[in-house]
């Protein structure tokens, strides 16, 4: 069965700068791939390329069976991406944001509300404009709006950043659950302990190319829990 993500010599130019300088990567369905690498290595660009947000100007790029170089829009509904930014409308309330993005991606309001439940945001915040939320609360909302789409391919860019212990564990759970349900996950992270604990494979990016690739013993037990108090 052909890989779910297939990159061969993929080049991505930002301005004139080759942020990706020939990436070779094949990801099989159900894998949880950790992308690690120095700042500026190209992790975010790689994820954005898989989502068809930036153009691959050279090499092959096939995702979910679609050739991105031919059509970048076909796959999007089946992808969920959590980026550095939270992609929320400041003035809209938490609920409105999650519902809008859910419906925009073809999911229902029910999915949205369920997702919102899942990220366990205090109820008093449901009808607060997201502009007023704290960093971590905001990222939780963002997570919810991705969750509501129930994607086949998850692209997570530093999903743990800004989240507290509970939320971090939640992210790990969600990732494991998604993979168990047959979805595939690419996650870029600098929190190696946590990320390596959930990833089945570790790919190292450096200078816009793949520098290392190794399987990890798929851990199913939760990561070493912190002192539970005050999450």
């Amino acid at each position: 069965m052909e890989p779910l993500v297939h990159l061969r010599g993929a080049v991505v130019l930002l301005g004139r700068f080759p942020a990706l300088a020939g990436v070779d990567l094949d990801v099989e369905p159900g894998e949880i791939v950790l992308l690690r690498g120095a700042n500026g290595a190209g992790k975010t660009t790689l994820l954005r390329a898989c989502a068809g947000l930036v153009r691959v100007t050279d090499g092959d790029a096939v995702v979910l069976g679609h050739d991105l170089r031919a059509d970048r829009r076909a796959v999007r509904r089946r992808i969920g991406m959590l980026g550095h930014a939270t992609a929320l409308y400041d003035e809209l309330t938490v609920v409105d944001n999650v519902r809008f993005w859910a419906r925009a991606a073809g999911a229902t309001v029910a999915h949205a509300d369920a997702a919102l439940e899942r990220v366990a945001l205090p109820d008093r915040l449901r009808d607060v404009p997201v502009a007023l939320l704290s960093t971590g609360q905001r990222r939780r909302v963002s997570l919810a709006s991705v969750l509501a789409r129930r994607p086949e391919l998850w692209l997570l860019d530093e999903p743990h950043a800004g989240l507290d212990q509970d939320a971090r564990d939640l992210v790990d759970e969600l990732v494991r659950a998604a993979a168990a349900a047959g979805a595939t996950v690419l996650l870029a992270s600098h929190e190696l302990d946590r990320a390596e604990a959930i990833a089945t494979r570790e790919v190292t990016i450096a200078g816009g190319i793949v520098r290392g690739d190794r399987r990890l013993a798929a851990v199913t037990a939760p990561p070493p829990a912190e002192v539970p108090d005050a999450g």
Binding site: R48, A51, L53, R72, R73, R76, R77, I79, M81, G83, A85, T86, A87, L88, Y89, D90, E91, L92, T93, D96, F100, W101, R103, A104, A105, G106, P129
Partner: protein, 222 residues
């Protein structure tokens, strides 16, 4: 496509409902511009009567600029723009939705302004049918063109300033046609005015059609 349009338009209108930007800020702004003009031009008493329709539409266009900027700013913020693309919405739908939202807001504004003009400049309103038709068509055209350029500028940090440059010359013909139509309507010669209205109809049609076709390309690229 229409479902997507409705969704997006609903979102933008809800944004306006929450932030009240148009109501609390753009509207007073345009009234203000009118007042300023009144000051700046009322050198001879009659200048004003003559120039009213022109000033009205200049004011509308300036306000339209703000509305369009706002509409494109909300997408530019926090990479919502990327999220819209990722959602896999039909680009034509997004275009129609955002254009519709802008148009609705502008129409509300125009009614207010017309009141303002009648009040400030002592213009009495005649030829309502023509006025309404003109307003609707002109607004549609402006909203369509504005939304189209809005997405082009959305990715850029220079949005606030680039948009006016691109948009105004495009909508200038609308300004002229609408002005003439208003002159005739207020002059009680609606009959001749309808020709202009037709012209505006053509504009609106062309820009809307063009937007439906071209928006996708821009959305992907910016």
């Amino acid at each position: 496509m229409l479902a997507d349009a409705a969704l997006v338009a609903g979102k933008d209108l809800r944004l306006e409902a929450r932030s009240r930007v148009l109501l609390n800020q753009v509207a007073p702004f345009s009234i203000l511009v009118l007042v300023l003009f009144a000051f700046a031009l009322d050198v001879e008493g009659d200048t004003l009567e003559v120039a009213t329709p022109g000033l009205y539409w200049v004011t509308v266009l300036l306000s339209a600029l703000l509305a369009v900027q706002r509409s494109s700013a909300v997408e530019a913020a926090d990479s919502n723009h990327d999220a819209l693309r990722l959602a896999g919405l039909d680009p034509a739908g997004i275009f129609l939705g955002k254009a519709a939202a802008v148009a609705v807001q502008l129409l509300v504004l125009e009614v207010l302004l017309l009141g303002g003009v009648a009040l400030l400049y002592g213009t009495e309103v005649t030829g309502v049918a023509l006025l309404v038709a003109t307003a609707v068509l002109a607004t549609t055209g402006v909203a369509a063109a504005g939304t189209l350029y809005g997405v082009l500028a959305a990715g850029l940090r220079v949005r606030e300033t680039l948009l006016p440059l691109l948009l105004l010359p495009v909508v200038a013909p609308v300004l002229i046609a609408a002005t003439s139509a208003f002159e005739l309507a207020l002059g009680g010669r609606s009959g001749e005015g309808w020709a202009w209205c037709g012209l505006l109809g053509v504009f609106a049609l062309v820009y809307t059609a063009f937007g439906v076709l071209a928006f996708g390309a821009l959305l992907e690229e910016s």
